[in-house]
């Protein structure tokens, strides 16, 4: 059985504190166990990403990743200007940067801004399209790691009905 198959419990289960140390450690433990399949740099990156997923702020998530927002025209982010339903917001990220390795998507106003992280191996286009939940009108960020440096793109989206709670 591949080490990748390690269940990662929800960090809020059992009343764990949001962004708390215990939660972070638990995340890290899972990431460490899961890291057997990755070469070392990605293993460490996965640990940092696990911390970033548990962060309640964009700044905290970026800090955990060791990233900064450095806007680049070579990172393109497509998000609708207006969405009626925040629970299904199409997002598309394209990188034109050589050596693109990872793509992260953030929704700034979400309780946990880091929405998803993609590891793009060589041979896969640095491009991904998915659908996310956006809590309220806010900025959506795309963060691309290329040759070890981070580059970003931002786009504001206006949401009529938020995508987090009921309804």
């Amino acid at each position: 059985m591949c080490a990748w198959f390690v269940p990662r419990p929800d960090p809020l289960a059992d009343g764990a504190r949001v962004g708390g140390r215990r939660e972070a450690l638990r995340f890290m433990g899972a990431a460490l166990l899961a890291s057997g399949m990755f070469p070392w740099p990605e293993a460490r990156a996965a640990e940092n990403a696990a911390l970033a997923f548990g962060s309640g702020s964009l700044e905290g998530a970026l800090k955990a990743l060791g990233a900064v927002l450095d806007p680049s025209p070579r990172v393109r982010l497509a998000v609708p200007d207006f969405v009626e339903n925040g629970s299904v917001v199409p997002v598309e990220v394209t990188s034109e940067l050589p050596g693109s390795q990872t793509i992260c998507v953030f929704s700034e106003a979400n309780p946990f801004p880091l929405v998803a992280r993609f590891v793009v191996p060589e041979g896969t286009d640095p491009y991904v399209s998915t659908r996310i939940k956006v809590a309220e009108s806010c900025n959506i960020y795309a963060l691309v790691q290329a040759d070890g440096r981070y580059f970003s793109a931002v786009k504001a989206t206006t949401v009529t009905v938020g995508g987090c709670g009921n309804g």
């Binding site: 990748w4 269940p7 809020l12 696990a50 946990f112 998803a116 939940k133």
Partner: protein, 104 residues
């Protein structure tokens, strides 16, 4: 047991386009049921997609990925009839693996 994924992979001019639809509630843990009781979190955390044993995409998802996560991406070097395999695991330790063949 979760329902089978829908996987579509198509080779077009040397590039394989992949659509994966994973049927999953992706519960955030923030919602309440009709009686006002909180619905516990239940979402896919890790996805791994490989072709003939080679990883072509790994993804870490959060609760903020929409219900029934959809992924679309492209990779180079696939061949018609190659097997594409998608694995996921969620916060409750449920997992699912499905395969499909690359179409021409």
């Amino acid at each position: 047991m979760a329902e089978p994924m829908r996987i579509r992979a198509r080779l077009k001019e040397g590039v394989t386009e992949v659509h994966v639809l994973m049927l999953h509630p992706m519960e955030t843990g923030f919602r309440k049921d009709d009686a006002g009781r909180p619905i516990s979190a239940h979402y896919i955390t890790d996805v791994q997609i490989s072709v003939q044993g080679r990883t072509v995409l790994s993804a870490t998802l959060s609760r903020a990925v929409s219900q029934d996560p959809l992924l679309y991406f492209r990779f180079q070097g696939g061949r018609v009839d190659d097997t594409i395999r998608v694995d996921w695991i969620d916060t409750l330790g449920e997992r699912r693996t499905d395969e499909a063949q690359i179409q021409g």
